[in-house]
């Protein structure tokens, strides 16, 4: 494999993996902060138990997000040094600001929060988890400012052989940020809601001692989940409309729309093949007339551009080349994301319905399926990023720089192969350890106290040989 393929693969592996942890950090941090606030205001010990239980899971997840995040900060320079040179004047700033404003805030105050239970007043202690939650939200903002520049470059000029920032305000006001950021925040809320719903349901099925805490958690998560999923869907809708305007090629790929249509139908399912002229033919397809036009423009007519027309248009603007992103993976990623999102919307509303009917502690069939539904947000988050990043191909910065122009030229392919294998193996092992711990703590709330208790003598003896 060549350096470009290996570097892309490594960036994909490390970024997808990093984003397994980020949405839960964003959503659960806020939820734990709300729980602790309820504890401070009411003095009800059950809220404290909830805070500690979900806080422990939050912290395990947070650690994984932190350590995989360092790789992200470094590999622009390591693997994408030409990109860093050309775009660094713009792209470096939000990354540095993210570290300065967000990383310091979240990591410093998380340390204080974990260790400060007996050292701070109740209110001050609750404030520290709020600062952590604010830090994670700020972190998401700045990294999405950077990412949005790659999707929709604004506030810059090409001079001195590179892209230079001309308007920092435009970077922050980038319309892409303001659809992408709420979408990511809402998906974080959704992820946390389904994480809490799934684990609470597992406990409500068994109703061991202390289960009441999970009833309350379930009810909170039902509300949280409805808020999250509704926002995800609404914002996602405006995001799609924005995409039709500024990255029509991405939308065409997401829809596998080869030729422009007016009104454009929405494909629910499609199998196709290339005919003898290398033109795409649908073999089997279910389409809803006019729905894509509606999604794009809120009315059942209006032209949505197809891949072939855009390709011809881009050849005129940017010269010969292939400007089509990989269609199949974008098409199916879009369906997986939207499908998982809509399913979560239904589940969240049903959970909320149970809360209002006062049946949320007793719906056994529902409790049985919810633990599996924990996977849904992860599916949606991951395929959502597939669409965002693969739909941007072949560009690294839309219209300005192609991916192959950004890769480091001086790093041998064998070295990148080594790092790719090393990161993948280590990440695999850590995932196993992480899931093992999360399962153990999720299933046994008392585990927290067992760990804090003194180690048995046998454990101490085991270390005397070191």
């Amino acid at each position: 494999m060549d350096i470009l393929t290996l570097s892309r693969l490594q960036f994909a592996v490390t970024t997808v993996y990093h984003f397994f942890f980020v949405p839960l950090t964003i959503g659960l941090g806020l939820l734990v902060a709300l729980m602790e606030t309820a504890y401070v205001r009411s003095g009800n010990e059950e809220y404290k138990r909830m805070t500690k239980f979900w806080g422990k899971l939050f912290v395990i997840n947070f650690a994984m997000g932190v350590v995989t995040g360092i790789v992200q900060e470094f590999q622009f320079g390591m693997n994408w040094s030409e990109y860093s040179r050309f775009m660094g004047d713009i792209f470096g700033a939000p990354l540095a600001i993210e570290a300065l404003l967000a990383f310091f805030l979240e990591s410093t105050f998380l340390g204080v929060w974990i260790f400060g239970w007996d050292r701070l007043s109740k209110g001050l202690h609750a404030l520290t988890i709020w600062l952590v939650a604010i830090g994670t939200a700020l972190s998401a903002f700045w990294i999405l400012v950077a990412n949005s520049f790659m999707q929709e470059p604004v506030g810059y000029a090409i001079r001195n052989g590179r892209a230079e920032m001309t308007d920092f305000g435009a970077l922050l006001g980038n319309p892409h940020v303001w659809v992408q950021y709420p979408h990511v925040l809402a998906s974080g809320v959704t992820t946390a809601a389904f994480f809490v719903l799934g684990i609470s349901a597992w406990h409500l099925l068994r109703k061991k001692e202390g289960w009441e805490m999970f009833h309350r958690s379930f009810n909170w998560a039902a509300v949280y989940g409805v808020i999250g999923t509704v926002l995800v869907v609404l914002v996602g809708h405006s995001q799609a409309q924005h995409m039709v305007r500024v990255q029509p090629m991405k939308m065409a790929a997401a829809e596998a729309l080869w030729n422009s249509e007016d009104p454009a139908s929405l494909s629910l399912f499609s199998i196709g093949r290339l005919d003898e002229n290398s033109q795409w033919q649908d073999v089997f397809s279910i389409r809803v007339p006019g729905l894509l036009s509606f999604l794009a423009y809120n009315q059942f007519s209006g032209e949505v551009q197809g891949l072939n027309g855009l390709q011809a248009e881009y050849e005129l603007i940017y010269g010969a080349g292939n400007y089509m992103p990989p269609v199949a993976i974008n098409y199916w990623s879009f369906r997986a994301m939207v499908g998982a999102g809509l399913l979560m919307l239904v589940l969240a509303f049903y959970a909320l319905y149970l809360v209002f009917r006062d049946q949320s502690a007793n719906k056994r069939w529902f409790h049985r399926i919810l633990p599996f539904a924990i996977l849904l947000p992860y599916l949606a988050n991951t395929t959502g990023w597939f669409l965002t990043e693969l739909g941007r191909q072949p560009w690294i910065v839309f219209g300005e720089m192609r991916v192959e122009q950004g890769v480091s030229r001086n790093v041998p392919a064998s070295t990148v192969l080594f790092s790719l294998v090393a990161f993948t193996l280590l990440y695999g092992v850590l995932m196993a350890a992480d899931v093992y711990l999360l399962r153990k703590f999720a299933r046994n709330p008392e585990e927290v106290n067992l760990i804090d208790a003194d180690a048995p003598a046998a454990l101490d003896r085991a270390f005397s040989g070191d």
Binding site: V59, I60, A63, V67, I70, V71, F74, G77, M78, N79, S81, E82, S84, R85, G88, D89, G92, A93, L95, A96, I97, L100, L101, F103, F104, S107, T108, L110, G111, V112, F115, G116, R119, M165, T166, S408, N410, T415, F418, S419, A422, F423, L426, A433, D434, L437, K440, F441, L450, I451, D452, D454, A455, P456, A458, L459, D460, A462, F463, D466
Partner: protein, 337 residues
Amino acid sequence: MELNSLWFTLIAVLFIGFFFLEGFDYGVGILMPFLGRNDRERRVIINTIGPFWDGNEVWLITAGGAMFAAFPHWYATMFSGFYLALVLMLLALIVRGVAFEFRSKDRHPRWRRLWDWLLCGGSFIPALLWGVALANVVRGVPIDAEMTYVGTFFDLINPLSLVAGVAALVAFMLHGAIFLSLKTDGEVRARAEQAASRLWPVVAIVIALLVILGYTQTDIFRQLGINPGVSALGSGAALLAVGWLLRDKNYSWAFAAMGLHLALTIITVFRGLYPRVLVSSLDPAYSLTITNASSSEYTLQIMTIVALIFVPIVVLYQAWSYWVFRKRISAESKLEY
């Protein structure tokens, strides 16, 4: 001061923060399996840096981010050039960060012992590598006219960089031992004090060797002149003071003096480097400088405003967090990690 120099200074400040703070917590990580003889003692040692290690590490991440924002060519050339070394460092830092969180969350002795050694190794490797990296930045690495690193991993291995690596390693261990002398009690404290006393002469010898090699292998002291200036002399004096204060069992001041030694060492290195940021061993004209590697004036202005507001705020709340956890930790304390 014009902005390019200001950013050179700010990055030096971030590296000082990193060496000072992450220095002792790498040291504590390396020493942990040796000074902690049973599970409880090891937990005490880990808990001394428990609330801080993550915040300390952000100094490094911010230094990297600041290099990217202010001197993109420095970031691009150095990070792609030092690729393999950075991969090793990242692997170590990943394992280390997770080890803090995972280590005590299972009671199986084999689990705990495994994470203990990973935490130790995960602190050892970056300590060594930062010494190696910094020495090479000053000594010079093969960089061509296009600002591209054209050497291999093995160009980074030379007598100077190896000695610098060992110097960073033992200095961090000493810094960590002094920190533990301040933060623990009982047997662990006694062992930490003993370790500090034994480590000091080693540090003194290695640093002396590093200075000699610095004279012969780099132009850093030629840059500074016959009189290397307050920072270099002060750095040496601070290290001597550490030895003297350790003999007096005055650990608070020894810690301050050690911190001063690390800070002045970084200042000396950056002063010797200025106005270059990465020296080319092929041709001095190819060296990256604060002018040819920098961002535009506009970007530097924006970043300056952000940094001047937020760096002091960060320093204040991190200092507050150290004040909150100022008490010694003993075997009787409630432990989180």
